[in-house]
């Protein structure tokens, strides 16, 4: 049994209202990687993570927490979860929902991977540090448009303050919010938005890395059907020496990872993920994802049948092996 829908939706909207984030992640910790890479503050072109890779392990944890609460007598008290969350000003979930260190470390690595890939392609970016905020994708999906609109104005004001004209994103949900949703919510919003996969594909030459094995590609629904990012990841993987294999449903007809249902209906999410794992594992053991939600959902469902890795890791492996750093293929 899941918690009553309205309580969970309420918890998420409250966090958005109070903290500018659906889930709690301390701002300084979320931008530690950028300090290490010496990224300048702001500038005309910035990398904007929207904190997606950093916060997504919390969604998995939230659903585990929810399963525990749902199985307890607490679930009988409608509205209790929401009240408790309000009382703790949104920090309650952080205290009890902790991702494992390894889970967190791997996802935290992705923004740094992206900066390295962009730099290798001759693209320098700035970063907004404490102003790199979650875009509100989950709250928007849940229909909390008013909450998201006021948050979007905050993000747009930060772009203006830091002189940002062009934004490079990583994950599909942040790309979709900044490129296709914010223009509807914020008057006068005029920022060019591209995912790093689109930027890298523009800069890619004809060079081919030595063979790096084969992998099945899992398209994100949002990249494939909302933002038209289909061809770029395939071209980049091929250039990195990866033989790209297609599952039964791929490209524009890709099958969802189940993740969007995770925070409200973990059982339904698991069923959809299980079906997708069967489609993917029928084709190859190695699997490429390009969204943190897909990565976490498929990993939770696949056991030993699939080895799921983010596309940035595949692309960086190829660069390292070309540079002779000794990454095995």
């Amino acid at each position: 049994m899941a918690l009553p829908t309205r309580d969970v939706v309420g918890v998420l909207s409250d966090n958005m209202r109070m903290r500018g984030s659906v889930l709690p992640v301390p701002a300084r910790r979320a931008s530690r990687w950028a300090r290490r890479l010496g990224l300048p503050m702001g500038g005309p072109t910035v990398l904007y993570t929207g904190l997606m890779y950093q916060i997504i392990p919390y969604i998995g944890s939230l659903s585990r927490l929810q399963a525990r609460v749902a199985a307890s007598p607490l679930a009988r008290f409608g509205g209790l979860a929401r009240l408790a969350n309000r009382a703790s000003r949104g920090y309650g979930l952080a205290l009890v929902a902790r991702p494992s260190r390894q889970e967190q470390a791997e996802l935290d690595r992705v923004p740094g991977n992206v900066v390295r890939l962009l730099r290798a392609a001759g693209v320098d970016v700035g970063y907004l540090y404490e102003d790199d905020l979650y875009t509100g994708a989950l709250a928007y999906d849940l229909g909390s448009d008013e909450v998201v609109a006021s948050h979007a104005r905050r993000v747009a004001a930060a772009f203006a303050r830091h002189g940002v004209r062009e934004v490079i994103t990583i994950d599909p949900h942040t790309t979709n919010m900044l490129r296709s949703v914010y223009p509807k919510l914020v008057e006068g919003y005029d920022v060019r938005v591209r995912s790093y996969l689109e930027v890298l594909a523009e800069h890619a030459g004809e060079a081919r890395a030595p063979s790096a094995g084969r992998a099945v590609v899992h398209d994100s629904c949002v990249f494939a059907r909302y933002e038209g990012v289909l061809d770029q990841p395939r071209r980049l993987l091929a250039a990195a020496g990866v033989e790209v294999l297609e599952p039964l449903q791929s490209g524009r007809h890709t099958w969802c990872c189940g993740g969007p249902a995770e925070s409200l209906y973990p059982e339904k999410a698991a069923a959809v993920a299980g079906e997708r794992v069967a489609q993917l594992s029928a084709v190859a053991r190695d699997c490429v994802t390009m969204c943190p939600i897909c990565l976490v959902s498929l990993r939770q469902a696949c056991g030993a049948r699939l080895a799921v890795r983010d596309i940035s890791e595949y692309l960086l492996d190829a660069r390292r092996s070309q540079a002779g750093v000794g990454v095995s293929t």
Binding site: T5, V9, L142, R225, R252, W255
Partner: protein, 102 residues
């Protein structure tokens, strides 16, 4: 359960945004393509909304909130219905009802 056909719900949805289920031809392709395999989504649900069956729509809040917004249905819809956005608009409408009830 009310079965009275009224346009109030459709009017309320129109105020929230471009609810375009009216062009649906009821062919069922969307249901066949849906990874959740819910017969209810989106075809019958959208029809309930169009017919103004507010209580029925409220009774289906679990189906409405479990939609993945993945657009697998839309990729196959011959009428070009913006199904995922229609579902999102139903969520907005339901959130309003939740707030009213508190």
């Amino acid at each position: 359960m009310s079965t009275v056909v009224t346009s109030v719900l459709a009017d309320e949805l129109a105020v929230l945004g471009g609810f375009d289920a009216g062009v649906c031809m009821n062919c069922g392709v969307c249901t066949a393509a849906c990874p959740l395999g819910l017969d209810l989504l989106p075809r019958r649900l959208l029809r309930h909304a169009l017919l103004g069956m507010a209580e029925r729509v409220q009774g289906e809040s679990e189906a409405i909130f479990s939609c993945l917004l993945c657009r697998a249905c839309e990729a196959n819809c011959p009428a070009g219905v913006h199904i995922a956005e229609d579902v999102r608009l139903l969520r907005r409408w339901l959130l309003g009802k939740f707030e009213e009830a508190q």
